[in-house]
Symmetry: C2
Subunit: 122 residues, 2 copies
DNA sequence: GCTTTATATGAGCATATAGTTATACATGGT
DNA sequence: ACCATGTATAACTATATGCTCATATAAAGC
């Protein structure tokens, strides 16, 4: 069943290292956290500095409950830090790689969308 | 209802630009495509160069049907290119930003996991 | 044209997760 | 102690998506 495959270009070097299931799950989980518009909206709002839950709810137009949930998701993924001050809880971006991640994705998206542009212009 | 909020640190500069719903949906979608272990496994296998569907199925241990589906998802997101040659279809990484994305995520993950390490060691 | 091989796709099931509403918890003021 | 405010959580519904099995499509050889 080992069908002799033509190798058109690259000489078929084996994949570097197999990558454990656990590692893949962790990476996938990290991407999944970033795969929700509301969470991206929250991150975007936090680019300017830390904010309270209610502030974020107002800025993003989400309900308090939903925003709180998403903030927790982001915090559990160590992307946000949490600071309690009196009645309020302030969240802030804790993982600086978030900025680069978003830059990368936005950049490659702008490329593949340069035709139907306008979406990012604003 | 505009509760006067104490601004502990940063002087509350407004978020740069509101970011349209469409843009956010596109970015979220892109992250979602990367948020599945099997797709990450496929991308990882393709780091070494283009491969056919069956090759990838064998390498990843997935069924032909499932691998084909995931490859399509990746291709529709413009992350993979597709080349047909005879009976076989070869997929290859088309978006170089993928490499940097994975590097970034792996890097920040290794940091936050340096304690329980070993997952990435292999 | 028929068969074989490689890939794609349709249908169905199972699971995960986003959103809502209502309520609980916590803190500060009176 | 009580009440007001800010945040978290529980229960539920709706939707999306991954996986499997079976089948369809497409190309190559006979």
């Amino acid at each position: 069943m080992v069908h002799a495959v033509k190798m058109p270009f690259k000489p078929a070097m084996k994949a570097p290292r197999p990558m454990s299931d656990e590692a893949l799950a962790l990476i996938a989980r990290r991407f999944a956290v970033l795969a929700e518009p509301m969470r991206l909206r929250l991150l975007h709002a936090l680019f300017a500095g830390e904010k309270s839950v209610n502030e974020l709810a107002e800025l993003t137009g989400g309900t308090q409950a939903n925003v709180s949930r998403h903030l927790q998701t982001l915090a559990h993924a160590h992307m946000l830090g949490r600071r309690k001050e009196g009645l309020q809880v302030f969240y802030a971006i804790a993982d600086p790689s978030i900025f680069k991640l978003c830059e990368l994705v936005c950049g490659s998206l702008e490329k593949s969308l340069s035709k139907q542009a306008g979406v990012f212009a604003q």
